[in-house]
């Protein structure tokens, strides 16, 4: 193996994918839980509670229900987590980290981001529980609803960045980040605001946050796809979901506001941006109730879709 392959492997397993993304994701989860508790005038768990929870899950026994398809049931969490580790390795951190070109571009990242949703769907249907089946159908409905807008948002950024750098389309995330560092973030460019808003709409649905926590609605279908999971596989599912939070927030930061100082300070700025986003998400989660699946799908097919097309039109108009 060449040094480049080894280095790529390290970015996926240790930093910023794998271990780093996991630790950051768990810490962000802790912050979210505490922030929501404070908004509800509760004390809330300690910040390290998600770490304790994960450790406890990892030491428990794995139960596989008789009705489940054991192979799919166990393979799905691993696939989901692996996809997220790779995706986290592809997120550039301005001034601190540039992902290996071996891993691929924005298109690959887009596909990787949809793998956890597919994992949840498979998990739901493989568990053999009716709640899992309902979770499966809900997850599928909501994925179909938000996949369109997020794709439009990513394509808008790629086209816009391409137009500005004189290429037809710029799919290399590192170069998108580099361009913004030199010429100012897309966050402050009104031409990109529809795409930005589309991306912001996508975050709660993808992370399963109220009002879009429908596939895992605890008080309705007992966490849907996760209902039969226990022990380490459940731990892997939790790891997948916290890493996904880092990937989705990190991608948003890279696409719209990557700017930061060079060196270790750049990493700190990245973490602070993640924290700000998590606090905003907590505020949303504390302020609304859950939608019904038909309402959520209708919402995504209406507003974010419209915004996505507006963003795309603006990006094309810039040529």
């Amino acid at each position: 193996m060449t040094t480049e392959t080894l280095w790529t492997l390290a970015t996926v397993l240790v930093f910023p994918g794998g271990l780093f993304a996991l630790v950051l994701g768990l810490a962000l989860k802790g912050v979210e839980r505490r922030a929501i508790a404070r908004l509800q005038r509760r004390i809330g768990p300690p910040l390290v509670q998600p770490f304790y929870d994960l450790l406890k899950l990892m030491r428990k026994r794995t139960l596989i229900p008789d009705t489940a398809n054991a192979f799919v049931f166990l393979a799905v969490p691993v696939a989901g987590l692996a996809s997220m580790a790779v995706a986290a390795g592809m997120i550039p951190i301005a001034g601190f980290f540039e992902p290996s070109p071996l891993l691929g571009n924005l298109v690959v990242l887009f596909y990787l981001i949809s793998i956890p949703a597919v994992s949840l769907m498979l998990a739901g249907s493989a568990s053999g529980s009716p709640y899992g089946a309902i979770g499966f159908s809900r997850e599928m409905a909501i994925v179909l609803a938000y996949e369109g807008p997020i794709l439009l948002s990513l394509v808008s950024v790629a086209l816009y960045a391409g137009a500005l750098t004189g290429q037809p389309v710029l799919l290399n995330l590192t170069e998108i980040v580099r361009y913004q560092q030199q010429h100012g973030a897309f966050l402050f460019d009104p031409w990109m605001w529809p795409a930005l808003l589309t991306y912001l709409c996508f975050i709660p649905a993808n992370l399963g946050i109220a009002p879009f926590d429908i596939p895992e609605a605890e008080s309705e279908i007992l966490e849907g796809p996760l209902v039969e999971y226990s022990g380490p596989p459940l731990g892997l599912m939790k790891m997948m979901s916290v890493t996904k939070a880092v990937v989705v927030l990190g991608l948003g930061i890279a696409l719209f506001f990557p700017n930061g100082p060079a060196g270790l300070a750049g990493l700190l700025v990245f973490i602070i941006k993640c924290l700000v986003l998590v606090l905003a998400v907590s505020l949303l989660k504390a302020a609304v109730g859950r939608m019904r699946i038909d309402q959520a799908v209708l919402f995504y097919l209406k507003w974010p879709e419209l915004l996505g097309f507006a963003g795309l039109a603006l990006a094309i108009a810039r040529f």
Partner: protein, 361 residues
Amino acid sequence: MKSFDMPVGPLHVSLEEPMYFRIHVEGEQVAGIEITAGHVHRGIEYLTAKRNIYQNLALIERVCSLCSNSHPQAYCMGLEKIAGIEVPERAQYLRVIADEIKRAASNMFNVAILAHIVGFESLFMHVMEAREIMQDTKETVFGNRMDLAANVIGGVKFDIDEAGAAYVIGQLNRLEPILVKEIIPLYETNASILSRTRGVGVINREQCIDYGLMGPVARGSGYAYDVRTAAPYAVYDRLDVEVITYPDGDVWSRAMVRLREVVEAIRLMRLCLRELPEGPLTAGPLPFIPAGEAITKVEAPRGELIYYLKTDGTDIPARVKWRVPTYMNWDALEVMMVGDRISDIPLIVNSIDPCISCTER
């Protein structure tokens, strides 16, 4: 989408008590429902025939925690009727206070759970925090947060002196603005709540009467039946109770009836505390209770609660039998649920405020 059967319960996060629904689902819609009860049957009616009337008072209070004042009250009223005991006026007023304080706390609990089921945890916390004012009041006045032990045969066990009355009024003054200015407007206008509860679990007035529905469920469908006005007990005939009705018969209407009834309960408690007459708390030593029969009914937080009592001249009642509002209300779940979505099932079940332990005793 294919059709399948989905179990809800006996243990389910959104059911407070064990109850088993087998729900036939087509796609996302409910096509049929089968209710299996009996998970918390404890044989309490049988036990009442094994204990004397005083022991039964303690037993009956423990049938259910949320209606734990209505049961002993109806039981005491039955014995008072058989023995011809005149309950002193002060005790009658105090009984109303105990009744209304339980109603306020119980209704707020149910409405809070609605927010929890909708996934609106902040609102759930807020309503529970407001309810805590009532819980504190109960603990201070009665020494207990749930089982008040307020009633004895021929009167009440507790007293509210001037300082106590000032304290209760202070607590009511704390609760009322939160309820009227924050919680009720929130339930009336919040998009999260409205979009999930309006037009869900509808039952109309005619079906209500056919199924014999009771309490806030019937009043939410515009059927103005309330034992407190239809057959006043204690001193309800003097208090001019307002019967709150909403016309639409959906989950939201039932929640609004409950919330408005809390406001009404606050008004009744204030009125009782102001007009509380002087006098004894009980009718004195218990006279001989002859053989006889009595039927009494009270308005529990969930609706009409009927007690049948038969004595045979001994200190052990020959038969104690009661009918609780949930018994009729849960049958109507079928009407409410069919055609609605899976995500609405817990909401609809909660909207009848089922009290399983009362019903299955």
